[in-house]
């Protein structure tokens, strides 16, 4: 299966700050009652953005100044909580192409990388500066560069980090693992024969 390489993402950014941004906040569980991911566009951070009566909470995502943003600036332990892939799916299907945060929950980072949504880490002070700049000048064009590991715009450049294997998978267009997982059927068959499977007998 040919996949696109993901090396640079360029566009406006939107801040979604705060530590421990859990997947229930990224996508409330009522939106999980679906059997495809197709309906998830626009649902990201729903209860963070809207009151129960549907009125706006004036979240930066809904600020016209950040309209069309394709990069999220987040906080520590972004995506903690449940393993629901609905969370990165909702984010990706809402037009976001990269997330920059201080750190990410393990399951979230794996889910995101597996659907071609890079999660990269930046230092606390750099993120604060980037958020400040993008709040002041929302039209700032940021570039997340996975090759040289920088987050940059015309006025600033910050180093970013990411797990080497996820980076490799994205920039080589190998982020969907299933093709490579099918390359060793004999070894898999051998393990399947030697490792006991639970059975009623």
């Amino acid at each position: 299966m040919p996949l696109n390489t993901i090396i640079t993402i360029t566009g406006k950014a939107v801040p979604v700050p705060g530590a421990d941004m859990d997947t229930d906040r990224i996508i409330p569980s009522r939106f999980l009652k679906c059997i495809t991911f197709d309906e998830l566009a626009g649902t990201m951070f729903y209860d963070e953005r809207f009151n129960t009566d549907g009125s706006t909470k004036h979240h930066p995502i809904d600020d016209p100044a950040h309209a069309g943003a394709c990069i999220i600036f987040g906080g520590e332990n972004f995506g903690c909580g449940s393993s629901r892939e609905h969370a990165p799916q909702a984010i990706k299907r809402s037009g976001i192409q990269a997330i920059v945060a201080e750190s990410f929950a393990e399951i979230f980072i794996g889910n995101s990388s597996g659907i071609g949504l890079p999660c990269v880490c930046a230092a606390h002070t750099d993120l604060e500066a980037a958020i400040e700049l993008t709040r002041r000048e929302p039209d700032t064009q940021w570039t997340v560069n996975l090759e040289n590991l920088t987050l940059s715009c015309a006025k600033a450049s910050y180093p970013i980090t990411m797990q080497a294997n996820f980076r490799e998978a994205l920039i080589r267009g190998r982020w969907d693992a299933v093709v490579e997982l099918m390359n060793a059927p004999e070894t898999v068959a051998k393990l399947a024969a030697s490792l006991p499977a639970p059975s009623l007998s």
Partner: protein, 471 residues
Amino acid sequence: MGKTLYQKVWDAHTVGTLPDGRTQLFIATMYLHEVTSPQAFSMLRELGLPVLHPERIFATPDHIIPTDDQHEPFADPRAVTMLEALRRNCAENGIRLFDLPSGQQGIVHMVGPELGITQPGMTIVCGDSHTATHGAVGSIAMGIGTTQVRDVLATQTLAMSPLKVRQVRVEGTLRPGVTAKDVALHIIHRLGADGGLGYAYEFAGSVIDSMDMDGRLTVCNLAIEGAARCGYINPDEKTFTYLKGRPYAPKGAAWDAAVARWKSFASDPDAVYDDVVIIPADEIEPTVTWGISPDMSIGISGTVPNPDDAPDAETRKARTTALEYMKLTPGTPIKGLPVDVVFIGSCTNGRISDFRAVAPLLKGRKVAPGIKALAVPGSQMTARQCEEEGIADIFRAAGFEWRLAGCSMCLAMNPDKLVGDQVCASTSNRNFKGRQGSPTGRTLLMSPIMAAAAAVTGQVSDAREVFDINA
């Protein structure tokens, strides 16, 4: 140099190294539920691939199942669609489904251990973060995403990077009234909701050694709330006694061989850990969360913390946000906080031992007026045991609504939900904003006996005082 259980299980299941450097890991057993699997089957169909090892995959519906009335069709058409999809996908692919009429349905993390499918030395995955639960029998169990569920359906393997291993040793003796739930909440509080990033937690020490299997399942269940993707406990005689005779456990001569094999997976005495944390048992109180992250907890004698006392700006901000959402004032004693709803259940605390612990305390007592109290056995098997042992009747007599098996009020994907800004004393695993179904609902996580104390007093209470268990 010795190895940890994590390393041994990882090595035994390694297929090879992928071009991006990740390990291709064989998965011994995968569990499915209705929320995170239908999309994976769709992806598989798009690729035109069959399920490679259906005999290693087990399914049960849990999240969307109503616990009051399970007559079909359910009132919620979306729940009907999801259940139908699970049934169809399992039937078409020869996957064993523990469906509602089977008598073996329940929360997937209860069903697996109860049926003896979850065994030591296995790699176990499920599209659900609380898969960590299964580590309690000495397996490496992890939550995965739906694309990864597809990978396992297609290849019975996953692309993974190994975690570091932190041994969390709880040493000493727990004080009376302090339970496995309190141990887990205390660990999360000590190490932080993000403290386990990059780690598997090996729970050990005298407290874990003497803990029963249901308690161990509770502790491992909550590993993920401390950011550890998997938590495990080395298999011992308690593990083997627990598994013996369960439907899917090996029998006869195969049993002895299995036990010998299982023992070999336990961490070596000279195993090297990436980190070791020792937690004294006597510092653990009955613990209650006050905020919107599972690490925001205090002992029952404590007061709601003040953001101004926070060690850093981030913590101050997090506390302020939490207090605002919880409508709490710094310095308020947690004891005495009025509650509206009590929920005893979930994959954290919906096991037979949880109901056995609470039932004798409820005998002759009543749920306080105006309190809605739900008792929800996590599986049909546990529900049957509770009926047989008279436990269900004790809960009913006390004024609890005794429900049918399911995830219930843990996560708001079924009719059991908080309304408005109700406060819920809950034995579940997450106090996130909106977790229990109302975007303004407030969750206080605690142990089953603490939830029972809240039920009979109508407020957060010290179970040791209410039930006189200090003796």
